[in-house]
């Protein structure tokens, strides 16, 4: 007994040491160095408040932080600017205790005032999803400089997901003194949108427009010993092939978020020095579908929509058009969703015979020329894959007697045609699930989202009272099992009624040089701080 106790102690101590060294090894395999990544288009601002477009979200999440950080695909909350938190039993009060040793990049101290200001004055009114996140906020209290209390009108099941650095960035209140935060123009035009002052592991060193952005290590970072890297550099290379060459030659270390043409990703994945991965974007869940304008016959007929769904071969779409960068689409929630996907959904089979039979049944017989009816299609103008998809759809639907004319518009024109004028028949597009279907999926399918001029909403004119009811309940339901059931029913209805034709679950593929480590940490890895990323 006397002998074992010290042995136990020694064992415990050595375990502690081992785990400590393991932890620090995990932290930085090596310190120093520059990580260069390549992306196009260039960010238009360095804050996701101005726009949360992909290039802006990647770079600004290294500069700004939020109350929480996340671990794993399902986004388990971890401390960040908040070191601890409590949630009341009725899930209506969230209390966050802030770190006391955090400084802004300009040296001023970070306090609860900054959090209250950011959420109430900036994120809620001016971030594109601010009203979804904080619409139920009844009061935000700051009892002392290091405590923030959120009081909600209703319990919001996804509330712990909203404190992502790209979605709810905390900005310094003092940078907005003298700025009219009552107008979008005042906020978007503020100097801080171009010259950021954050709390994150990196701060802006240089921005040469059209060429590059250099972020340098924040030596005052609250997480001592981090970041591992000295610099993060964004290089702007507009040509896809040129970006791939830069990755291949090692001139750049990383091309995040499917920044390379799919054919190039396929080619590079065979090189020994290159790693490609589709992990690390689970909480984005990009889902590609055809939005169907259901306001007029024949597309108002569910049989016609089902026939279209059966006339398209999803495996070919994935393998041939998208070079394997995805999986066949099934329903509104992507199958990679760690929690919410309905496993019972049966994908529509590819059968021209059944599609023809359904169209006959719906009363659209072939005319003398073999054509049942004519329609137009638009396609999302995001590059040549989308054009090739449109070509494929035209050809495939032609086989079942639907004559399709393709209309080509640039992004501005396409948005207006689909979401403002509703002057389309079908169009390809994609939408993000985000970290919770109440955030990402609801907006496409509820009838109160039939709003002219609101982009990526219910362009189809789809109305189903049960779907509306379920979405409204599920956004306030706090029992995970009940939520799962509600989402299952929603998925089944949308799968059967097909207000959109599900085509492909897209993947965000990241391509990097083997010498880079620690990139994939959670479901929003490219929108995370990269404080623990290191380079050999």
């Amino acid at each position: 007994m006397i002998r074992t106790a010290p042995a136990g102690l020694i064992l415990a101590a050595s375990f502690a040491l081992a785990s400590l060294s393991a932890a620090s090894a995990q932290q930085c395999g090596k310190t120093g160095g520059t990580l260069t990544y390549v992306y196009h288009p260039e960010p238009t601002a360095l804050s996701t408040i101005a726009t949360s477009a992909v290039p802006v979200a990647i770079i600004s999440t290294k500069i700004y932080e939020s109350l929480l950080s996340y671990e794993g695909a399902a986004l388990t909350p971890k401390p960040s600017l908040a070191e601890s938190w409590t949630v009341s039993d009725d899930k209506k009060t969230y209390t966050f205790n802030l770190r006391r040793d955090v400084k802004w990049h300009d040296g001023k101290p970070f306090t609860a005032e900054d959090v209250a200001f950011s959420v109430e004055k900036i994120v809620r009114p001016y971030s594109s999803r601010g009203r979804v996140y904080f619409g139920d906020l009844a009061a935000l209290e700051t009892p002392d400089p290091y405590t923030v209390v959120f009081k909600l009108k209703d319990a919001v099941p996804f509330f712990m997901n909203v404190f992502q650095p790209g979605e709810t960035p905390i900005l310094p209140k003092h940078a907005f003194s003298g700025i009219d935060v009552g107008t979008a123009a005042g906020v978007r035009g503020a100097e801080i949108m171009q010259k950021p002052i954050g709390t994150g592991p990196f701060r802006l060193k240089e921005w040469r427009r059209g060429s590059h952005i250099i972020l340098e290590k924040n030596s005052d970072y609250w997480d001592k010993g981090r970041p591992c890297l000295d610099q993060v550099v964004l290089r702007v290379l507009p040509d896809g092939a040129a970006r791939a060459i830069a990755v291949e030659t090692g001139e750049v270390d990383l091309s995040p978020m499917s920044g390379l043409p799919e054919a190039e990703i396929q080619r590079l994945s065979k090189l020994p020095q290159i790693v490609t991965s589709r992990e690390g974007a689970e909480a984005l869940g990009p889902n590609m579908w055809l939005e169907v304008n259901m306001r007029e016959a024949p597309l108002a007929d569910v049989k016609v929509r089902q026939a279209i769904s059966m006339a398209l071969d999803r495996t070919r779409i994935v393998d041939v058009i998208w070079y394997g960068q995805g999986t066949p689409g099934i329903g509104p929630i992507v199958s990679s969703s760690p929690i919410f996907f309905n496993e019972a959904l049966k994908p529509y089979e590819y059968s021209l015979a059944k599609a023809n039979a359904l169209l006959d049944e719906a009363g659209y017989k072939r005319g003398a020329n073999g054509v049942r009816f004519k329609m137009t299609q638009n396609f999302l103008p995001y590059g040549e894959n989308w054009l090739r998809l449109a070509e494929y759809i035209r050809q495939e639907l032609g086989k079942v007697g639907i004559s399709v004319e393709t209309q080509s518009l640039d992004l501005g024109g396409w948005l207006k045609a689909v979401y403002t004028d509703w002057s389309f028949n079908i169009t390809s597009t994609f939408s993000h699930n985000y970290s919770d279907p109440s955030i990402g999926v609801e907006r496409t399918f509820t009838s109160d989202n039939i709003k002219k001029g609101a982009t990526f909403t219910n362009s189809m004119g789809y109305k189903n009272a049960r779907v509306d009811e379920l979405f409204s309940k599920v956004a306030r339901e706090n029992d995970p099992a009940v939520r799962k059931k509600q989402f299952d029913e929603i998925q089944q209805i949308l799968h059967d009624e097909l207000p959109v034709i599900f085509l492909m679950e897209m993947s965000y593929t990241h391509v990097w040089n083997k010498r880079v480590h620690g990139l994939i940490t959670n479901g929003i890895s490219m929108y995370s701080s990269w404080a623990g990323v290191w380079k050999e």
Binding site: T34, P41, E42, T44, T48, A50, T51, S52, A53, V54, Y126, S128, R129, R131, V132, T183, A184, R188, G189, M193, Q194, R208, R209, G210, S211, H212, I214, Q231, V233, R235, L237, P238, D239, A242, I245, A246, T249, E251, L409, D410, L411, G412, G413, W414, L415, K416, A417, Y419, T420, S431, H432, Y434, R443, K451, K452, G453, A454, T455, F456, T457
Partner: protein
Amino acid sequence: MMPAKLWFVLRRVLQVIPVVLAIAALNFLLLHLAPGDAADIIAAQSGGATPEFVAELRRSFGLDRPLYQQFLFYIARLMTFDLGWSNVQQRPVFDLIADRVPATLLLMMTGISLALLFGTLLGILAAMRHRRGIDSVVSVLALLAYATPQFWLGLMLIVLFSITLGVLPSGGMMTIGPDMSAGARALDVARHLLLPTLTLGLFYMAIYARLMRSAMLEVYTQEFITTARAKGLSEARVGLVHAASNALLPVVTLAGVQIGHLLGGSVLVETVFGWPGLGRLVFDALLQRDLNLLLGVLFVSSVLVVLINLAVDLLYGFLDPRIVHK
């Protein structure tokens, strides 16, 4: 100065004002013909937004006002030489343009001057050796260089010099990061400039070589060449001095016209090589419906063209008095 000449200058300068105004109006209306606006694009790039958010953006950009009000506002701004504010990039339009001008000028000037020099020389050489080996070689090469798509040529040069040989950078205008002395920086930029200049220059060189060759051949048929030869001048002197100097006119005229294009840069070459020039700025602005920025660039370049034309007209007026009295 004679009153007739003074009147001529005054008239030409005054004529510029309505021309510039008309260009401004045309630019404005043309850009408004394109469907969709920056508010839609910003909302879409953010993954969609509420209608209130889009409406607020539109209001803050002034896009909710009637078109005539937007137009009057735009003209009033131009009167004070204010190019406005880029709603997408959140910076003054003037700054955005000024940022890109040096890169564009460097690339275009180097490319076009080298092309002019070598193109003219090759053209002269081909014409002087008409229907001989060197003529065929120059003609075929010029045709090839002229017909090769620039983006393809650029990529092939990258494959050869960056991947296979590993001697030149694949893109960008400079090595990012390290602080360098001015001399080292200049060398670094020169290294980055090489491939884009070659890509751009070969195309223009082909044009000038073909033009120079045909102009020379035409001059060769004229009587003063026969006279020169009859005087016993050497063939080299006939070609280089008598024919070439006369054949240069169309080449110089064309090069003059192309100076007008300088400011536009070359979207293709800038895209392939990640060169931070004006061409790409305009292209991105168009896709993002960055109205004020587009109007700004179009306005500056059209004013430049008008001013160059004015200068040429005035010069003609002094060189050839008949024009003044027309």
